[in-house]
């Protein structure tokens, strides 16, 4: 068959015109069954319900805010980290602007080898930090968070990352949901990308965060299956977090603690108006490393450590089951299925790949923009985010191909070799013991 460039578009349109709906569904079953249903249909249904209940929800939120202001509880803001000294002054400035001010600021320096101890102690002396605790030996993020927890005295614990900054009402807003229901023991903040103009890599992550964090978590929270409170910005009831023993060894400790709270019978929710800005990796190499770590933690915690949530037992909870099952299904199962789908297409439609691949990209391209519209509905920073719209066209390559390959590699490494225990993110002394104990 001779190849003529001028015939490509007419042939492509003619092909899909004649193929018929049943064959279209057969070829794009993966997209229609999973992607379209989950990210378009459900998102828009929830967006519609969300919009319809907006007034009622706002009233409920306002009532809870009044209760919070009336009680004005003492809160402990804890920030564990290593070599974060350079961010500390800006962070204290950001926190000084908060509408909620009845909090203590505890910073744990987890064995920093830069100027962090000097900076931290100076800020403590100046009264900008309430407690600066220095660990001479690095113990890992979980141990640093637990140390801060041990020396906190607030009714609520707000866990932050040092390189974040916050909207002036972020801390107040993240605390409000606790006054909506006594069953709520943890609230996740809305983490957005601050450096979205820095590089293509950060732009794509900014869009991804809007989809998966800002909107994705509104949906899962609404459905009661919200399963990860970001380590960058989350609030916890101190009594509950104490009762479950604080954070366990990571990586992926933020997801792990959320599951632990759910398993102990409490609810967790997402608060979209509690806005936190963070710096995302600006290079794909760094991003790949970060995502390999995150994705390995899904196998380690959701599949292995907390496998009990999938089986009937005394503490069984459907919402926890669905929260983890959705996470594992959409990440792990669908990732494996995607490779089956690719094989299916290569075997059965090898002669039509010149039509199938462009259509596949077209579908994901269109879906990305349709999804972006739902983000537009939910967002409170619409003007700024308009900047990102041209880059939405690249999302099908970013999430559909790049992130999927990274994810597959992470699952393979963790599932067969338990590589998360070798991650230098945690000190070897802790990882070795955790691996031995099967954690």
């Amino acid at each position: 068959m001779s190849f003529h460039i001028e015939n490509i578009v007419p042939e492509y349109i003619n092909y899909w015109h004649e193929v018929g709906l049943s064959k279209f569904i057969r070829v794009f079953w993966y997209f229609i069954l999973f992607e379209f249903t989950r990210y378009i249909v459900i998102d828009y249904i929830i967006a519609f319900i969300f919009g319809a209940n907006k007034k009622k929800r706002a009233e409920k939120f306002e009532k809870a805010r009044q209760l919070l202001r009336l009680e004005n509880p003492f809160v402990s803001v804890i920030i564990p980290g290593k070599n974060e000294g350079k961010h500390l002054f800006k962070l204290t400035r950001s926190l000084a602007e908060q509408t909620f001010s009845n909090f203590e600021l505890i910073i744990v320096d987890d064995g920093s080898d830069d100027d962090t101890p000097i900076i931290g102690k100076n800020l403590e002396r100046l009264g900008l930090i309430d407690k600066f605790i220095r660990n001479e030996m690095r113990g890992g993020k979980a141990s640093a968070a637990n140390l801060a927890l041990r020396y906190s005295s607030g009714k609520f614990i707000v866990h932050l990352d040092a390189d974040c900054s916050f909207d002036y009402d972020a801390i107040e807003n993240v605390l409000v949901p606790f006054y909506m229901s006594p069953k709520i023991a943890a609230v996740g903040g809305n983490v957005k990308v601050r450096n979205y103009k820095e590089s293509l890599c950060s732009k794509l992550q900014a869009i991804e965060y809007l989809k998966t964090v800002s909107v994705g978590r509104i949906i899962t929270s609404y459905l009661g299956i919200y399963k990860i409170i970001s380590g960058a910005f989350g609030a916890f009831r101190a009594d509950v977090i104490d009762a479950i023993g604080g954070w366990d060894i990571g990586p992926g400790l933020d997801g792990d603690i959320t599951v632990k709270i759910r398993k102990s019978g409490y609810k967790v929710c997402f608060e979209p108006s509690a806005i936190c800005l963070t710096n995302a990796p600006s290079k794909f190499k760094v991003l790949t490393k970060q995502r390999l770590r995150w994705d390995k933690s899904i196998i380690r915690f959701r599949v292995r450590k907390h496998k009990d949530v999938y089986f009937p037992n005394a503490n069984f909870s459907w919402s926890t089951f669905f929260a983890l099952a959705e996470n594992v299904f959409y990440n792990v199962v669908l990732d494996i299925l995607w490779w089956f789908y690719i094989i299916d297409i290569i075997i059965n439609y090898s002669s039509q790949l010149q039509f199938v691949i462009p259509m596949n990209f077209t579908l994901y391209f269109v879906m990305s923009y349709v999804q972006m519209c739902s983000i537009y509905v939910f967002s409170e920073r619409r003007k700024e985010e308009l900047y990102l719209w041209p880059y939405v066209s690249l999302m099908s390559i970013y999430t559909g191909t790049y992130l999927r390959i990274v994810r597959t590699a992470a699952y393979y490494k963790e599932f067969f070799f338990k590589r998360s225990f070798e991650d230098t993110w945690n000190p070897y002394k802790s990882s070795a013991q955790a691996k031995k104990a099967g954690l």
Partner: protein
């Protein structure tokens, strides 16, 4: 050779090798004597109080020649060691030749000193110290002394300062080193209480919140496997250490757990903290000093420099006080030369010029401490200069006395002098509640055949 002349019960004069040594046991003995004709004094008493009175009387004498007289202690008398350092040592009355040799040197060197009419305590003391070092040809070495507020006694120097005037003493020494008249060899650093300047400090760790010293340190334990971190007391059981989070036994440090840091807890306010506040409690006045508030001072031995010797011999007329003034203020000697030139000029040009003298009556400025004096003098210099014409010349004699040469000025009391008087009065009034009357400004029109010295003398009448 030995010739003892007994005058009364308490004084004896010893003549030896042409020198007269006065043997005394009580201050009343020397009050009756004319010390000018005595070459050395021998303290002949075991009563420390009497001996101290004698040394004070001699060393504090306004006449430098008397203040520098050698003072010996009869070696048959045993006096307090902290007192001995202010004398020229012990003397054996049967072996006077060694001491006489010393007397000879001191006397000869004393004659080489130009006796200055000085103003101000520090200035007089400095002169005495330099003269003492010069006549003894030695070094003043500080001696550790438990009884001293700063832990060190300075031979000779300590006689001129009360115990509580330690800062003035050290400051005078620092200034003398700064202007090159003394050289120092560092021996130690002392940290002094901000309130009483004492060196007897008790360093204690305290709670940064309530300043209580009732604090206790606890090791922090990190259990690797479950990431639980808490003070050691949380892990303590009858059998050792067990994790309160996962109930596991902690057996092996470095394998099961480690101790990454320690925390203090305050038994008074329950505050928990990692960096304890260090407090230096003064034993003498009970003041609680933060370490950063302690006054750090160098303790050294002091020797006179060649510049200091030159200064003593009168080679440097202007006082170091003048150096405190701003640029554009000349020394009195230079002023005299320029004024003499002006006298010659007006003789030829038949013009009229004035010399003015600004005087702070009763040497008011000398009553203030050094820091205030320094600031005031700078301000005074700046005020005077700001109202002078570009052709006017200003000189300073000392803190209290300033001369102005006002060429081509016909008025008896020019307007600019009125302004200067008003502003200086205001400066003193605003800062020191001093009255305007305390500033005296005199003018003198230059006349042919006059000398500048005679004009200056007239001002001081």
């Amino acid at each position: 050779m030995l010739n003892v002349l007994r005058h009364n019960d308490r004084t004896n004069k010893i003549q030896f090798s042409g020198y007269t040594l006065l043997r005394v046991d009580h201050i009343s003995s020397i009050q009756q004597e004319s010390l000018t004709f005595v070459d050395a004094i021998i303290i002949d008493t075991e009563n420390n109080e009497h001996a101290t009175d004698l040394v004070f009387f001699i060393r504090k004498n306004a006449d430098l020649a008397i203040a520098l007289k050698p003072i010996f202690i009869n070696n048959t008398c045993q006096l307090n060691k902290t007192f001995e350092i202010h004398t020229d040592g012990y003397i054996d009355l049967n072996e006077l030749s060694i001491a006489i040799n010393r007397v000879d040197i001191i006397t000869k060197r004393s004659k080489r000193i130009s006796h200055k009419n000085t103003v101000g305590h520090d200035y007089q003391v400095k002169q005495k110290i330099l003269a003492f070092l010069f006549t003894r040809n030695s070094t003043i070495v500080p001696i550790t002394n438990r009884a001293s507020l700063i832990g060190y006694s300075f031979p000779f120097i300590d006689l001129f300062y009360k115990e509580e005037e330690v800062m003035s003493k050290l400051s005078m020494l620092e200034k003398s080193v700064e202007c090159g008249h003394l050289s120092t060899n560092l021996k130690d650093f002392v940290h002094l209480c901000k309130r009483c300047h004492g060196n007897y400090l008790n360093f204690v760790e305290a709670c940064p919140k309530c300043d209580s010293i009732d604090i206790k340190a606890q090791d922090i334990v990190h259990h690797f496997v479950c990431a639980h971190v808490a003070p050691e007391k949380d892990f303590k059981t009858k059998d050792g250490l067990a994790c309160p989070k996962c109930d596991k036994q902690l057996r092996h440090i470095g394998i099961d757990y480690d101790k990454p840091s320690s925390m203090y807890s305050c038994n008074c306010c329950n505050h928990e903290f990692q960096t304890a506040k260090m407090i230096a409690k003064c034993i003498d006045c009970n003041a609680e000093n933060e370490l950063s508030a302690l006054i750090k001072k160098a303790i050294g031995s002091y020797s006179i420099t060649s510049a200091g010797e030159e200064w003593l011999r009168g080679g440097e007329e202007q006082s170091s006080q003048v150096s405190l003034l701003n640029d554009g203020v000349m020394t009195l000697s230079l002023f005299k030369i320029i004024a003499s030139q002006e006298l010659k000029r007006i003789t030829i040009s038949k013009s009229t010029s004035q010399i003015a003298h600004i005087l702070f009556v009763n040497e008011r400025l000398d009553t203030f401490d050094d820091a205030t004096k320094k600031l005031l003098v700078k301000e005074i210099g700046a005020i005077i200069k700001s109202y002078l014409l570009p052709s006017d010349v200003m000189a300073a004699d000392n803190y209290n006395s300033y001369y102005l040469l006002l060429p081509e000025t016909k008025e008896q009391f020019p307007k600019r002098l009125e302004t200067i008087q008003y502003n200086l009065g205001k400066l003193l009034g605003d800062n020191l509640q001093e009255r305007l009357l305390d500033i005296k400004i005199q003018t003198h029109q230059l006349i042919e055949k006059e000398t500048v010295d005679s004009i200056i003398k007239q001002f001081h009448k």
